[in-house]
């Protein structure tokens, strides 16, 4: 599309498959199925989905860290003018951690338990040749101060187990932004945290974005997190983006029956009332129906839904939904 602002990241038709051998039978599971996603400089995009939606695999594919036996089958991942899908491992290392910072859900496993957090942040600077020696150490303390770590110069000498969950997440964010990347990928950055700490970390991510001029790709299952931080939202189900638009459009006027169902199922304004649950269970990626993957659980399902996977239909400027309710039946 021509009228889009220049992209920092432009993912097109990304498909990721996992080959599973079970009892001698080989099965191919398509975890990500033709996902396109773009992020402009300074923008925050929320990638929302439940378990099995493919949101985390998409995020890991962007930095080419798909866990084996997964592999990128097709698609392009153009970031700052280069296709990461085709970059060799040596060049990737200059992108990962340097141009793209990453914050994962479990700060305890993402941090190395036998090094102090100051050393780990300094290591990022040294590896990417941003600073070295005493300068790297001093910069690490500055970064800890920037993420509002209390008493940063003392905390730099702490090991991960000496920190609370919220402080660990702050340390990870400091390491992720150390080399001043242009894109920060945060995969469920607050899921393991208490509500009050979660709100602090989200505010921190927002202020890091503004201060360093970062773009933010925020992976989450929580629509409340999206509402707090995102400019645009892409909702995933069974490996595909089924709705995309501005945060306000998607949350205030959702079009896809799945997005509508998710919002309607949340406990809301009338205590004690029956919730509008989405029936059934999450999709089985190894046995998806031929048509729309959400059709078996959908209230608005009709015969056309089972015929073939629906295309993404533009329902309003900058707002699309992958549902035959909005056309696309040939």
């Amino acid at each position: 599309m021509d009228d889009q602002p220049p992209s920092l990241l432009d993912v097109r038709d990304l498909t990721v498959e996992f080959v599973i051998e079970r009892g001698g039978a080989r099965r191919i599971i398509r975890a990500v199925d033709g996902v396109s996603l773009h992020i402009t400089p300074g923008e925050t995009v929320g990638l929302v989905g439940e378990s099995g939606s493919g949101k985390s695999v998409t995020a890991r594919s962007i930095i080419r860290l798909v866990p084996p036996p997964g592999r990128i089958v097709s698609g392009s991942i153009v970031f700052e003018g280069r296709d990461l899908a085709r970059l060799d491992e040596g060049d990737l290392r200059h992108v990962r951690g340097a141009r793209i910072g990453v914050v994962f859900q479990e700060p305890m496993t993402a941090l190395n338990p036998v090094f102090t957090i100051g050393d780990q942040i300094a290591e990022a600077l040294i590896v990417h040749r941003v600073a070295r020696g005493a300068a790297a150490r001093a910069r690490a303390v500055e970064l800890l101060d920037a993420v509002r770590m209390p008493d940063p110069s003392r905390r730099a000498g702490d090991y991960p187990h000496q920190l609370s969950g919220g402080m660990r997440q702050r340390a990870l964010i400091a390491a992720a932004v150390a080399c001043q990347p242009s894109l920060l990928i945060a995969d469920e950055p607050t899921t393991a945290l208490d509500a009050t700490i979660q709100a602090e970390i989200l505010d921190l991510l927002g202020s890091m974005r503004d201060r360093f001029g970062l773009s933010l790709l925020l992976i989450t299952h929580d629509l409340g997190v999206v509402a707090r931080l995102a400019d645009r939202v892409a909702v995933m189900y069974a490996g595909r983006v089924i709705e995309e638009g501005s945060m306000r459009d998607v949350l205030a006027a959702p079009r896809h029956p799945y997005t509508r169902g998710l919002l309607a199922s949340l406990p809301g304004t009338t205590p004690g009332s029956r919730l509008q649950a989405i029936p059934g269970t999450g999709p089985d990626l190894a046995a998806l129906p031929p048509g729309c993957a959400f059709a078996p659980r959908c209230r608005d399902r009709f015969d056309a839904c089972d015929a073939r996977g629906p295309d993404a239909i533009t329902v309003a400027p900058g707002h699309s939904a992958r549902c035959v309710l909005y056309g696309g039946i040939s």
Binding site: E50, A195, A199, Q276, A277, I278
Partner: protein, 292 residues
């Protein structure tokens, strides 16, 4: 008479960083008192370390309380000798947060639900079989699935198995500890609806332990907010959400994730130094207590 009457519950743990150090006493639950009326749903909310889960576990004596009392329908639970406690466990049961770790992976679903009946020597083999079938239908599971193992079920279905197990002995009092927090959002509403239905249908007295304020607001007419082992605010959920009195409650409510894009989002930060954490609960309006 209240169905559940907890008074001055205290649970301390000794934290010993190394075997030779003297250790520090941590008061995980520090003088908690509340009552729940017969057939009422009561919520206990708090963040990690608030003592909410420890309170629930002490009540069922899954861990031994340090001091305090808990009367279930007038019968004191904490002083009971083991044999009598075992009998009383029929009346109080728990649904756990994580259906992955709370169901024995080597037992079939039907056997998991039936186990309590066997332990308590209830019914003949065919009576127990009928009861299991009845429980499966009560929680919306297909009776044909009872020979399957837990891993063959989805997360939501496993939570249904946990609920069927808890209900097998027809308890009058059920503790649901974070009953939906391990589940996908689209599945949570199914389990919340079922919990509300069963509470009505079986006239259960229900204690919901949760960090999710939206869940608690939806299903609990009355709630207590815990912070560092103490109840800092207690009263009708409506009053507390409308007009929170304690600074911690205010901070907690302001941090509540809200998917409404137009929601007012001014985050209130709680400063523990600014309040007397030892203050006793006092009435701020009828039926609404705060530790101020």
């Amino acid at each position: 008479m209240a169905c559940v009457d907890v008074r001055e519950l205290v649970k301390t743990f000794t934290r010993r960083p190394a075997p030779w150090s003297r250790g520090a006493v941590v008061r995980a639950v520090d003088g908690v008192s509340f009552t729940i009326a017969e057939g009422e749903t009561f919520g206990l909310v708090g963040e990690s370390g608030s003592g909410k889960t420890t309170t629930g576990r002490c009540m069922l004596r899954l861990i031994e309380p340090t001091s305090g009392s808990f009367a279930l329908r007038g019968e004191e639970v904490f002083g009971l000798p083991p044999a009598r406690l075992r009998a009383l466990r029929r009346d109080m049961q728990m649904v756990f947060q994580d259906p992955d770790s709370s169901l024995n992976p080597r037992m079939r679903a039907g056997a998991i639900v039936e186990e309590g009946l066997i332990v308590h020597g209830l019914g003949t083999r065919s009576e127990r079989r009928d009861r299991v079938l009845q429980l499966f239908s009560l929680v919306g599971l297909d009776a044909g699935q009872r020979d399957r193992y837990p891993h063959e079920f989805s997360g939501g279905q496993r939570q249904r198995i946990g609920l069927a197990r808890a209900l097998a002995l027809s308890p009058c009092f059920l503790i649901a500890d974070e009953p939906v927090s391990a589940l996908d959002v689209s599945i949570q509403a199914q389990i919340i609806n079922m919990l509300m239905d069963l509470q009505q249908q079986l006239r259960l007295t229900l204690l919901v332990v949760a960090h999710d304020l939206r869940l608690v607001r939806h299903i609990c007419p009355r709630v207590a907010v815990m912070y560092r082992g103490r109840i800092v605010e207690m009263g009708s959920t409506d009053a507390i959400f409308r007009d929170p009195a304690h600074p911690y409650t205010r901070a907690l409510l302001s941090a509540m994730p809200d998917p409404d894009p137009e929601a007012h989002r001014r985050r209130i930060i709680f400063d523990p130094a600014g309040v007397d954490l030892a203050a006793p609960l006092r009435e701020v309006e009828p039926g609404h207590l705060a530790a101020l």
